[in-house]
């Protein structure tokens, strides 16, 4: 363990704790301004949120977005980032940026990566060149990127892996790599390093990892390795186990979670921050996220549907022209989806706004001590009141924190 005075570039103000569930409302003060927790963070993988200008992203009320270290390390590359002066300058984004370490791409992109104690060896997907990503190099890249929150390099393996020994090894290695990351971090007073709890779906490993990492006293804590296709009830148990062992006064980030109901349940389990590419990716396939489900507007049924994408939605795309919006109809999205990129951009704006707005609503409910009712309403709206269709994992997980979705 590295003996260094813990440094932090954030201030965490806990505003309210839900009296029933483990949900919390907080304000997180970061180097590029405050953000309200719980929150969703859209993913601008390569320093651009798929087709949206930074102004449009601002319009969705986003104040913290993600960049991917792995991608920025490939393009534009560290030298360029240093020369330009970091990712904020590169993309002219005046608000906060969080970067992941590149670890997740090991499971998501690189089937052929090899992990050793030194780091991860893999081939560039662009030209096949062999590369080595070490904890030191990951932090060095993130220092060059200058993101407000940086993540440790962790040893990520799919939670669904049957190899328990490998999961255990990965957990311990992630702790060792955290120490190397802390030691390598050059800007602790301007960039917040978050640890990432690993341990697969084994709750004992998760608990051990949590204790070890909490002892390192990083400014924030992430729960990693999830959202990789594991059963949702197991996912909930991991989050529940970890948050129970975490200090109250630090932000908790569950990585890669983006479906609205997953987020809302995780908030009830005590998590604060979420990210996912799903809202923007699904937009490119013509899917609109709404409070009553996700709809593919490329379906012929929408060709003559002249209602807004989501009725009552306040995003730039849906808001009527008389209220300063565009008054875009489902029929128009149907008309352009997959034929002009602008269709994807319009839906991305809507989808990102939808998730940010959902989080705003959740936060208000927590502050006003009505989060359980908010959850009940949300599931009621999503499944049109048909309790038979409520996902069992969500019902169980919420019952565990005192909310009965099925009660009359």
């Amino acid at each position: 363990m590295v003996l260094r005075p813990p440094a932090s570039a954030l201030k965490f103000d806990l505003v309210t704790k839900c009296a029933t569930t483990k949900a919390r409302a907080a304000t997180l003060h970061l180097p590029h301004g405050p953000v309200q927790l719980p929150m969703f963070m859209p993913v601008a993988t390569q320093a651009s949120l798929k087709g949206l200008t930074p102004k449009q992203l601002e319009d969705t009320s986003c104040r913290l977005c993600l960049n991917n270290t792995y991608h920025l390390g490939l393009k534009p590359g560290q030298q360029t980032l240093d020369a330009i002066g970091g990712a904020h300058k590169l993309q002219s984004w005046p608000h906060n940026i969080l970067t992941d370490s590149g670890g997740f791409q090991m499971v998501s992109l690189l089937k052929l990566a090899q992990v050793t104690e030194e780091g991860v060896r893999f081939l560039s997907p662009h030209d096949g060149t062999p590369m080595l990503l070490t904890p030191e190099h990951s932090i060095s890249l993130q220092n060059s990127i200058g993101s407000d929150i940086i993540m440790q390099l962790d040893d990520v393996i799919a939670t669904t892996s049957p190899d328990h020994a490998r999961i255990k090894e990965a957990m311990h290695r992630s702790i060792r790599w955290l120490d190397r990351c802390i030691a390598a971090h050059r800007n602790p007073s301007t960039q917040n390093l978050f640890c990432i709890i690993q341990g697969g779906l084994d709750l004992d490993l998760r608990a051990e990892c949590t204790q070890q990492m909490v002892a390192r006293d990083t400014p924030g804590i992430a729960i990693g390795g999830l959202s990789g296709g594991e059963a949702k009830d197991l996912y909930c148990k991991v989050v529940h186990t970890c948050t129970s062992l975490l200090p109250d006064l630090k932000p908790r980030y569950v990585m890669g979670v983006g479906y609205p109901e997953d987020i809302l349940v995780s908030v009830a389990l005590g998590a604060d921050m979420f990210d996912c590419v799903w809202p923007t990716r699904t937009a490119r396939f013509g899917n609109a996220i709404t409070g009553t489900g996700t709809f593919n507007l490329r379906h012929a049924a929408y060709a003559n549907d002249f209602r807004p994408v989501e009725e009552g939605c306040n995003c730039t795309c849906c808001r009527p022209e008389s209220e300063g919006g565009l008054g875009i109809t489902r029929a128009y999205i149907h008309h352009v989806a997959a034929k002009e990129t602008a269709g994807a951009h319009l839906l991305s704006m809507h989808n990102v706004h939808h998730l940010l707005d959902l989080m705003r609503g959740a936060r208000e409910a927590i502050v006003e001590q009505r989060y359980p009712a908010f959850l009940v309403d949300y599931f009621h709206g999503m499944y049109a009141g048909d309790k038979e269709r409520y996902p069992g994992w969500a019902v169980d997980a919420l019952r565990g924190v005192g909310v009965d979705l099925l009660a009359d």
Binding site: Q46, A47, S48, G51, L52, T53, P54, K55, Q56, D59, Y70, G73, L74, K75, P76, G77, Q78, Q79, T80, A83, I84, K89, L90, Q91, S92, G102, L112, Q114, R121, L123, P125, H126, D127, G128, P130, M131, L132, L133, H137, L141, N304, F306, T316, C317, E321, L326, G327, T329, A331, Y332, H335, V336, K339, E340, T341, A342, A344, H345, L346, M349
Partner: protein, 460 residues
């Protein structure tokens, strides 16, 4: 509707005008219309259009909206905004102040297969589901329903084909018939308030060669036609004086600013300019002004001509924090820099083309403002000559890859064609070997910027 502010004494020459349409911002001419695809200027969403683009008018082709007509009624024909405003304008969320011009075909259009030509009652149009016929009657009806500000009458334009004298005669006959029918339809509708202005398309030959159509326009239709649409410059050469007061809209596909200047010198008022989007897709930031910058060669040495655009794919821009063009006031130049745009192109991020598209339209806005100024000051001819001396005659070659090519951008040549869009990534089959090699050699290779070298091709 169209006022000529200044014209040259000779019959054809550059002229200043103002296009005023009810409820819209007036367009000072010469100017250009943004060319749309499926209701948007490519890459630019409607909110960015309002906020960050200065485009005063757009051209919308009907063929983008009528996929399965007439078997299935196109959705847009069934759309009636509650306030009775233009269904087309509302559908594509075009701002109130922007002039909306409707025509039948895109510019440039995809050429119809030889077996699918125009007939006496219809033309071939390219829809998202292939070539279809559009009846003249249906076009006129659609145009009246959609209520654009300007509707270009259906033209029998044999794109990409040479015209024999028989074919010219036929085109003239059709043109007369279609215009008369369209006007008759408008008259039978009765209402005149808020009705679009009708522009008459001219055939691709001199006016003498389409004399009966000219007679029809001057004598019969007179007041009912508000402007002329040109598909080449041939009819301009002997345009009857009676038609001189009409505004002139060009679908002439200029390929360089030099072409634009030449066409202005012949009296074109409003352009559609496909090369703007083409440059954007090629990753080229346009960079030309009128008046052309003053160049004082040291000791009268030969100065190489300036390029008309900057290839943003070049590695030289990788750490360049300067705007695309110095002093440019567009959104891309005031908020972003070359390094970012180069990164976006290399990373194939869609924002790169959005920013270039905003910039390139802004360059054209300024170019046309400069043209109007030069006409007002009677220096158009000399400025045009100087422009031709200072600048290259062609836009720079495309070096990088553009965005995905769409069906409406190329003509299918039959079976067995190569894929138009390359797969972004391919599987690395020999990956394991390479990793093993790397371990043996144990070279210190780290994640590092490969960006500046342009995209390498993935190992097959």
């Amino acid at each position: 509707m169209f006022n000529i502010i200044k014209s040259t004494p000779q019959s054809l020459g550059p002229r200043l005008g103002r296009l005023c349409l009810p409820g819209r911002k007036a367009i000072e001419t010469p100017h250009y219309l943004g060319v749309t695809s499926r209701g948007v200027v490519p890459h630019i969403t409607q909110d960015t259009f309002r906020r960050d683009a200065g485009i005063n008018g757009v051209y919308v082709p009907l063929e983008d909206f009528i996929e399965r007509a007439p078997q299935k009624i196109p959705p847009i024909y069934e759309f009636s905004p509650p306030d009775g405003s233009s269904p087309l304008r509302r559908f594509i969320a075009l701002p109130e102040e922007t002039v909306l011009v409707l025509g039948a075909r895109r510019t440039p259009p995809v050429l119809a297969p030889a077996a699918n030509p125009n007939t006496n009652t219809s033309i071939s149009v390219c829809t998202a589901v292939g070539f279809r016929t559009l009846k003249a009657e249906d076009y006129a009806k659609a145009a009246e329903h959609l209520q654009p500000d300007i509707v270009v009458g259906l033209g029998d334009i044999p794109y990409g084909r040479a015209l024999g004298s028989k074919r010219i005669e036929k085109a003239t006959d059709r043109q007369i018939q279609w215009m008369q029918d369209h006007v008759a339809l408008r008259n039978s509708n009765g209402k005149t308030k808020g009705r679009s202005k009708l522009f008459a398309p001219l055939s691709l030959v001199s006016c003498a060669n389409q004399r009966f159509y000219m007679d029809c326009l001057t004598e019969q239709l007179g007041e009912l036609v508000s402007g002329l649409a040109f598909y080449n410059l041939a009819p301009l050469e002997d345009l009857p004086a009676a038609l001189h007061s009409l505004s002139r809209l060009a679908f002439t596909e200029p390929s360089t600013p030099h072409d634009i200047l030449q066409q202005i010198s012949m009296g074109i008022d409003v352009f559609t300019i496909p090369f703007i989007s083409a440059a954007t897709d090629a990753g080229i930031a346009l960079d030309f002004t009128l008046p052309a910058p003053q160049i004082t060669p040291p000791d009268h040495e030969h100065v190489a001509p300036r390029t008309l655009g900057i290839d943003m794919w070049l590695a030289a821009h990788a750490i360049d924090l300067s705007p695309l063009t110095k002093g440019c006031k567009c959104y891309a130049c005031t908020k972003h820099h070359r390094a970012y745009i180069q990164h976006l192109l290399l990373a194939k991020e869609m924002l790169g083309w959005i920013l270039l598209q905003i910039h390139n339209h802004h360059v054209l806005d300024l170019f046309f403002a400069g043209i109007r100024q030069s006409i007002a000051l009677d220096v158009f001819d000399s400025e045009r000559r100087r422009f031709e001396e200072v600048y290259n005659a062609h836009l720079p070659e495309k070096t990088g890859q553009g965005p995905r090519v769409r069906g409406y951008q190329f003509k299918s040549e039959g079976p067995g064609e190569a894929k138009k869009n390359k797969a972004a990534f391919t599987m690395l089959d020999d990956g394991k070997e390479k990793i093993a090699e790397a371990r043996q050699e144990d070279v210190e290779v780290v994640v590092d910027g490969k960006g500046g070298e342009g995209g390498g091709s993935p190992a097959a």
